[in-house]
């Protein structure tokens, strides 16, 4: 039963991630008084990309062809680690959150290599910027993890969430900061405004898009899909760690159904927040990003200090 739920969760993660993106687009259009595309539009895009012919640059090496599959596989693997519906999944103990960060970094490494592989100026530019931002986001991310880990006594997501669920009601000031910090990191890592703009193809501002400029067909579909999964991963991480209510602790249908409902509501709400931020802020120039991420790091750091000062005694 546990394994069944586990597989179900991974499938749900992979299958529902375009829906989340569709929902974000819909909210964004509504908020800007535009006519919204169907919420299913991301699925159609993916299906179309999968059907289309794949054009590969003639000078590309195997790194270029391998990377999309690796990126996608890492995203799927990460779905096995982050709890979505239920807490105790067999695969959750395989790896802790540091390993998760490591695997996401592996995917990013290959994406950067693929950007350099074709030998165009844009690809290299995208890779350089992506790696720069990632190298600054990683300490902030891990600082958040450390704040959690030191106060929970574990880096294992399932154990941490379980501890949290059983300590409610509880307001931990350090968590407020950690949550804010993680939100900032998530914005940077998933390439949203104000760090990167997923909709841009303006040469000088794009980061993620510049790296994948040469991809097409099913390669592009895999990369886009992996990016959507990553967005959902960070979303699930945020809401399930900091607002764990509703997560199923047993595997009977009713609590799973409740878990599904809870995560849908939480992610839907989070998407609303994201849209609000995106329509209020403009994209920063690249060299403001370090300050943004430095702020995320400091938030997490202050969270840690407040934990030490206020919560331990």
């Amino acid at each position: 039963m546990a394994w069944l739920v586990n597989v179900l969760q991974i499938v749900l993660f992979v299958a529902a991630s375009p829906l989340l993106v569709g929902w974000i687009k819909k909210l964004k259009c509504w908020s800007q008084n535009r006519r919204a595309p169907s919420i299913l539009q991301p699925y159609r895009d993916l299906a179309k990309l999968l059907r289309k012919e794949t054009v590969v640059p003639e000078r590309a090496s195997w790194v270029f062809r391998l990377s999309p599959y690796l990126i996608f596989a890492v995203a799927v693997l990460a779905c096995a680690i982050v709890p979505l519906l239920a807490v105790h999944l067999p695969t959750a103990a395989l790896a802790d959150v540091i390993v998760l960060v490591g695997f996401l970094a592996l995917a990013r490494f290959f994406q950067a290599l693929a950007g350099l592989d074709v030998g165009t100026a844009f690809g290299g530019m995208g890779s350089s910027r992506e790696m720069t931002i990632a190298s600054l986001a990683e300490p902030a991310m891990l600082m958040v993890v450390f704040t959690l880990a030191v106060s929970m006594g574990t880096t294992n997501l399932a154990s941490a969430i379980e501890t949290l669920l059983h300590q409610l009601p509880l307001i931990r000031p350090s968590f407020v900061f950690a949550a804010l910090g993680l939100a900032l990191v998530a914005v940077a890592e998933t390439g949203r405004i104000p760090v990167d703009n997923p909709a841009t193809h303006l040469e000088l501002t794009m980061i993620h898009e510049a790296m994948i400029l040469e991809y097409s067909g099913h390669h592009l579909a895999l990369i886009e899909w992996a990016a959507q999964i990553r967005l959902m991963l960070y979303g699930a991480l945020l809401v399930n760690v900091f607002l764990p209510w509703g997560l199923a602790e047993s595997f009977d249908p009713s609590s799973l159904g409740l878990g599904l409902l809870a995560i849908a509501v939480k992610l839907g709400g989070l998407a609303g927040l994201l849209v609000l931020v995106e329509i209020l802020l403009a994209k920063m120039r690249l060299f403001r990003a370090p300050q943004f991420l430095g702020f995320a790091y400091l938030l997490a750091l202050v969270g840690m200090l407040i934990h030490v000062i206020l919560e331990v005694g």
Binding site: R51, E53, V55, V56, P57, E58, R59, S61, V63, Y69, A73, V74, V76, L77, A80, L94, D96, I98, V99, G102, F103, A105, L106, R108, F109, A112, L113, G115, L116, V118, G119, T120, A121, G123, G124, S127, S128, M131, T132, S135, L136, A137, P139, M141, L142, T147, V150, T154, T155, N156, S159, E203, L213, E214, G217, H218, F287, L301, I309, V312
Partner: protein
């Protein structure tokens, strides 16, 4: 038919094995199966010896290893006359030295015992004491694993020097002595022999650094290296001196029994940290490292960066954990700060380099920093009597020691292979090597992934362990330490992120894209088998240590137990696939399962999507937003790749940029020059050098040049000494 030939014929086939080396490389060998049989036969013989003699063979094997390395060096004396000796005798001897050392080291590291022997050399009242225990055994593994790869890689590489202006004999002699020196340091059990072995290692490696001496900067680099090595050695002697002065004698056993007051222990520790840190390349004592490592031949760079720095780490661990024993938390904090600072500073400077070997040298500073971070955590925990957690920190540091030895040697050998094929060490003129050296590219990529601490490779495991140790700070009583340690852990995370960016740059610029220069474009597709075998051995170990970390953890736990008597409570509780340093609910990592799951996801994605009638790929000219007419110079360069970090962390470097515009033809042929220098040169070394010069000017006054005055000095010294002694 095969079996009897196999069982009896392997000794005979060993001649063939030697012939393989006579042919300088496996590539020429026709009868590979016989070669393999011979190798297996030798390994079988070793195992038999093990079985018959048990663990008693550990020390003899290690001594054999030292002797073989010495013989290899001495053979080099004739190599100037017969240059083929280098490839045919010296390197095979090193190979066997590596195999013997690996066997001895493995036995010693897995068993809880120590073997001692006293050799009748040295001073009349102090013969040489040699001891092999788990710690020495582990470092023997580190040395030997790299030595094996270097011995396989070397014969091809040194061919170039056989016909050149340099003496192949000197190279072989110094290499053999260098290796023997490093191995002897690991065995030494008294201060006197330790220093002899240490100096043998330093001086022999000086000759290797100075090997290509016709360039002025190489001579400068080697001088700086020798200078700092000797200053470091002085500090080590002083550190030993404190222990000897308050204790009974020169052997390690007696030094261990020395009781020191807190202040003197701190003095000894500081001296030791400076001395060993200088050899290991801790910031700010690292200045020699990025100068010396790139200058030496590549397989020597691999030995220096991969192994010699580790011998310094060994010295530090032996000195602080074993000889000093009781450590104070302040000392742990000092090591932690020095380690974190080295890690961040090293990788920032590595990222800005365009010379591949120099980049790798700076990255060694970073990795040494990570190792010392682990050691610092360990000392912190030990000093607060949290022995279990201290063991985790120590194990993380030791694990990273082995890992860094493996992947850094792999990368240096890869850089050597590139250098040999294309005569290019500047990243800005490389590119597209993946199609010209395909297997080297894969192996180099494994090295890059490992050093960037990316799973599922070994670098990640050791960083993960370091994080786990750092995250246990909540057990410490002091709130200040509790809030400080996570900050250093976050610095470690920054280091990891920057390392990934740095090595994405290295691999992307060197191997991907299209060649940026003609000579790189003309590189022929030729990769000698022996070179590939040497590198594959290291790359394979990187992967194995990454996906099967638990068995290595068990071995290292033994080392920690032999050093401090405490291991990990739960390491065995979950079986050999799970990495559980503290407790299963705290953190666990099943590397093999994760690796398999990743493979499964990959295969699924591949099966599902590649089937769908979209197998047809169309090759086309790169799109590049429709600009077209791409030239190789339009690719992103290494300098450009590193530019954002250069700007963000501008405070860490001294950056000078110049743009020259030719007067005749404005707008065309602009020249751009960029120098990124180590800020610590100006902050730390130049004041020291200035003070030294200032002081020397005064001291110089007593040097008149008049022979009678000098005689007078001797005379008065004699009188003074007589007065003192009477």
């Amino acid at each position: 038919m095969m079996t009897p030939r196999f069982s009896l014929g392997f000794l005979q086939d060993s001649k063939l094995l030697l012939e393989a080396w006579l042919g300088a490389g496996l590539g020429r060998l026709r009868q590979r199966s016989r070669f393999i049989a011979a190798t297996l036969g030798w390994i079988g013989l070793l195992l038999l010896a093990l079985l018959l003699l048990g663990r008693q063979v550990a020390l003899p094997f290690c001594l054999l290893s030292v002797a073989l390395a010495l013989t290899s060096g001495l053979t080099g004396l004739w190599a100037d006359k017969y240059p083929q000796l280098v490839a045919q005798v010296c390197f095979p001897l090193l190979l066997w030295s590596g195999i013997a050392g690996l066997t001895g080291g493995l036995i010693a590291a897995t068993g809880q015992f120590s073997q001692e022997i006293t050799l009748p050399f040295g001073l009349p009242w102090l013969s040489w004491h040699l001891t092999l225990d788990a710690l020495s055994g582990f470092f023997f593994i580190v040395v030997s694993a790299v030595l094996l790869a270097v011995a396989l890689f070397g014969p091809q590489y040194v061919r170039e020097y056989e016909s050149g202006p340099y003496s192949p004999g000197l190279l072989a002699l110094a290499t053999g002595l260098f290796v023997a020196g490093m191995q002897s340091v690991l065995l030494a059990a008294d201060a006197f022999f330790f220093m002899i072995a240490w100096e043998l290692m330093s001086v022999a490696s000086y000759f290797l650094v100075a090997y290509t001496h016709e360039k002025a900067e190489n001579r400068q680099a080697s001088f700086l290296y020798l200078l700092m090595a000797e200053v470091g050695a002085l500090f080590i002697i002083l550190a030993f001196g404190v222990l000897v002065g308050f204790g009974e004698g020169f052997t390690f056993a007696k030094m261990k029994a020395t009781e020191l007051s807190l202040a003197w222990a701190a003095v000894a520790f500081t001296l030791g940290l400076i001395g060993f840190g200088m050899k290991a390349g801790l910031v700010p004592l690292h200045a020699w490292l990025p100068e010396a490592h790139p200058v030496a031949p590549s397989h020597i760079s691999a030995l220096m960066s991969g192994v010699m720095l580790k011998v310094a780490v060994y010295g530090f661990i032996r000195f602080s954990f074993d000889l000093l024993g009781e450590l104070h938390w302040g000392e742990g904090l000092a090591v932690l700060v020095a380690g974190s600072f080295s890690a961040v500073f090293g990788i920032l400077l590595a990222f800005q380099q365009t010379n591949l070997k120099r980049l790798l040298a700076y990255s060694s500073v970073e990795n040494i920093g990570i190792i010392f971070t682990g050691l610092g955590l360990s000392i912190l925990f030990y000093s607060e009597h949290k022995e279990t957690l201290g063991a985790i920190g120590l194990i993380a540091a030791l694990y990273h020691t082995l890992n860094h030895a493996l992947f850094k040697s792999l990368l240096f050998l890869g850089a050597g292979a590139i250098l040999q094929r294309s005569h290019e060490s500047n990243l800005e003129r490389m590119g597209g090597l993946i199609s010209r050296m395909p297997v080297t590219a894969v192996l180099f990529l494994i090295g890059c992934l490992s050093i960037s601490a990316l799973p599922p490779f070994n670098g990640f495991v050791s960083e993960w362990l370091t994080y786990q140790a750092a995250l246990q700070v909540s057990v410490l009583d002091s709130g200040v330490l509790r809030s400080f340690v996570p900050m250093t852990a976050a610095l470690l995370a920054l280091t990891g992120g920057l390392a990934a960016a740095c090595f994405a740059k290295v691999f992307g610029v060197a191997f991907l894209g299209v060649p940026r220069s003609h000579h790189v474009q003309r590189v022929r597709r030729l990769e000698p088998l022996s070179v590939l075998v040497g590198m594959s051995w290291l790359a394979g170990l990187c992967l194995v240590l990454g996906i099967l970390p638990a068995s290595m953890l068990r071995l290292l736990e033994g080392v920690a137990i032999s050093l401090t008597g405490v291991g990990l409570p739960s390491s065995a509780s979950h079986g050999w696939l799970w990495l559980v340093p503290v407790a299963p609910e705290t953190a666990s990592y099943a590397a093999l399962w994760v690796f398999l799951a990743l493979g499964l996801a990959w295969i699924l994605a591949f099966r599902l999507l590649y089937r769908n009638g979209n197998r047809a790929e169309r090759l086309a000219y790169p799109w590049d937003c429709g600009f077209g007419n791409l030239t190789p110079r339009m690719q992103y360069s290494a300098t450009a790749f590193a530019m954002p970090i250069r700007r963000i962390f501008a405070g860490a470097f001294v950056v000078r940029e110049e743009v020259e515009e030719p007067a005749l033809d404005p707008g065309r042929g602009l020249r751009y020059r960029l120098h990124v220098d180590d800020r610590l040169w100006g902050m730390f070394y130049e004041p020291v050098a200035y003070a030294l010069r200032f002081g020397v000017r005064y001291v110089g006054r007593i040097q008149m040049g008049n022979i009678r005055v000098y005689l007078g000095y001797s005379f008065f010294t004699l009188i003074f000494l007589l007065w003192v002694t009477s």
